[in-house]
Symmetry: C2
Subunit: 338 residues, 2 copies
DNA sequence: GCTGGCACTCCACCGGATCGAGTGCCAAAC
DNA sequence: GTTTGGCACTCGATCCGGTGGAGTGCCAGC
């Protein structure tokens, strides 16, 4: 176990490096922090920290920079979550309250998060499977063709066209609509398959095929295809990456466009509380020099989706975590109200 | 007017510069193009082209690069639109046909366009005002609260919550739904305000306020707030900008995030045919070193929205224009089918 | 265990020299 | 009048060699 002072030295190194973007040396450390010991002592501590793998030198006779392992220790043990100032909180609330629909909420959230953290923001749309059904509407807008509209408690609306295998009368349609809604409204979407399983049986033989088709569309298309959508913003902040960013920015932009990768990344964020993935912990190669701070949000107790930011490993972790947490809370509130 | 050969020289300069990203000199030109004259002659021609403002030298004794004016002439007079190969066409069609809903169509289109042109792709969602109404649904999911769902012929679905000023019965609701639909279905959204103007008058006094609220929501919220949405993709291609891109990429990313700016940019693209805006023609400062190639697309004859790409002024105009035009056509077809 | 001193290392920066691509101009040839 | 070859010139890119300074590791002394 590292001594108290050595942890303090690590904290100081992380803070200074995050601020200056430059390797930090022993002398500079003693000048900018009240460590109470001389540079020589710090040098010894730094040698230990380097042996343990918490810091590294870019080259001999340069200052030290934190390693991924160093940041990890910093986040786990040394840093708290910095709460936002109350003007900031008020600004968040005001900004989010102006939203008119779900798209708008998500759009505003992304912009807000990007602005607040000055990094790249990623917001996942409320997941269908974890939302509850508010209403299912069936419309017959063209002969032998139905339109299925699904509305969730998070305000999400999905729509699908269905080609009927056989003509389907207005009466049967109303019947199906009523029965479908009586079974699924208020239930979690994940439970819907179970709840509608036997529905075709209660219809006449002639209509059964159509009912099955409708249900199949509901389950397959809606759930599987549109399960995961997300919005990204603040990519311009990538240009603040550092002096060597031309090399780094490319793979990051590419990774950000692969929504599948991002969703997996967010998904790995454990359910309770905030998750911070640092550098190589991210698995995806293009994000090896970035950290991801993510947290779940939802209208009730349960998280219906994730949001977070992607930034250089050299980021202000306490501030970023504070902003992410605060935004998630307010978005949850907004969703609960609508 | 420039002589035939001088135009040929300009064309050669543009082509070479687009290929190599480096200022092109007189000797290199004669080697790579069959111009039939000596470098000295080319030098004279280049001097004239420079006087006229079509090309410029980054510094004395360097090769020439085209100016915005030079590109303009190239696009207007010297370059055609390069049609895609038939494998490419087939790939486009296959890729777009897999789409399940409008979001998916737009998402696929963006990815396709970015991949095809290796530039940043921008696709505007089909505009509401230029679409026609397929159906309006009114649901009463909570007391004193209505949900309005709007479906257009382009597959777009919008939804709004409405707080009723007074209780509104099921009968009145069905009545309103029926009357509303009989008036607006099949009509262009732009005409809706006129068509529903007198609708409140035909209701009882007690319901009139609610009907007015519903109509107001329909018109104000839906039309104004969600009129213009767009999707962007392929930003990673910005890193191919050139060696000096760290300076250029920042303002471009910022401009891309300002959807309002982009929409204005696309909007300026004249209705008929393709529009190419080169460099400073773009008004927006951040895009001073980029060109925008845009074109309208739609399910029928009329364009319901625009799509296009943003790339460096030094781009392959014929190829880009070909790809943009082709994608727009296929998207139009897909929308018409759904 | 802490501190001051000291020699050492290595990067960043600067200025000068060189190289070469490309130009502009001119006189001669077509 | 246009085209051409020749030639001097310009100017950025590249490659040193030297210097300065920040930072280190080590050691002897407190």
């Amino acid at each position: 176990m590292l001594s108290e002072r050595r942890l303090e030295v690590l904290r100081a190194i992380v803070q200074d490096y995050v601020g200056t973007e430059e390797p930090v040396g022993s002398k500079a450390l003693t000048e900018r922090h009240r460590l109470g010991v001389s540079p020589a002592t710090i040098r010894n501590d730094m040698a230990v920290l380097e042996d343990e793998g918490y810091i590294a030198q870019p080259h001999t006779s340069a200052g030290r920079i934190p390693t991924d392992k160093g940041y990890r220790l910093f986040v786990d043990k040394l840093a708290g979550v910095k709460p936002l100032s109350s003007p900031e909180r008020r600004a968040i609330q005001n900004f989010l309250e102006g939203a008119v629909d779900l798209d708008d909420v998500v759009g505003r959230t992304v912009r807000l998060l990007a602005q607040l953290t000055r990094q790249v923001a990623v917001v996942q749309y409320p997941s269908l499977t974890r939302s509850t059904v508010r209403h299912v509407e069936l419309l017959s807008l063209a002969p032998a063709r139905l339109t299925l509209v699904l509305i969730t408690d998070t305000g999400r609306v999905e729509q699908r066209m269905i080609d009927c295998p056989a003509p389907f009368g207005e009466v049967a349609l109303a019947d199906l609509r009523a029965r479908l809604n009586s079974r699924v409204v208020g239930r979690r979407f994940a439970d819907v398959p179970r709840l509608v399983q036997d529905l075709p049986d209660s219809f006449d033989a002639e209509d059964r095929a159509t009912v099955s088709t409708v249900l199949a569309t509901l389950l397959e298309n809606l759930v599987e295809e549109t399960e995961e959508r997300l919005l990204i913003g603040g990519t311009a902040n990538l240009t603040r990456f550092g002096h060597d960013f031309p090399l780094m920015i490319r793979p990051v932009l590419e990774a950000l466009e692969e929504h599948v990768v991002l969703l997996k990344l967010l998904g790995e964020a454990g359910q309770p509380g905030m998750t911070v993935r640092i550098g190589h912990e991210n698995a995806h190669e293009g994000l090896a020099s970035t950290s991801v701070v993510a947290v779940g949000y939802g209208s009730g107790d349960e998280a219906v989706a994730k949001l977070g930011v992607v930034g250089p490993t050299r980021m202000d972790y306490p501030g970023t975590m504070g902003a992410v947490r605060a935004v998630a809370r307010y978005v949850g509130q907004i969703l609960a109200e609508s």
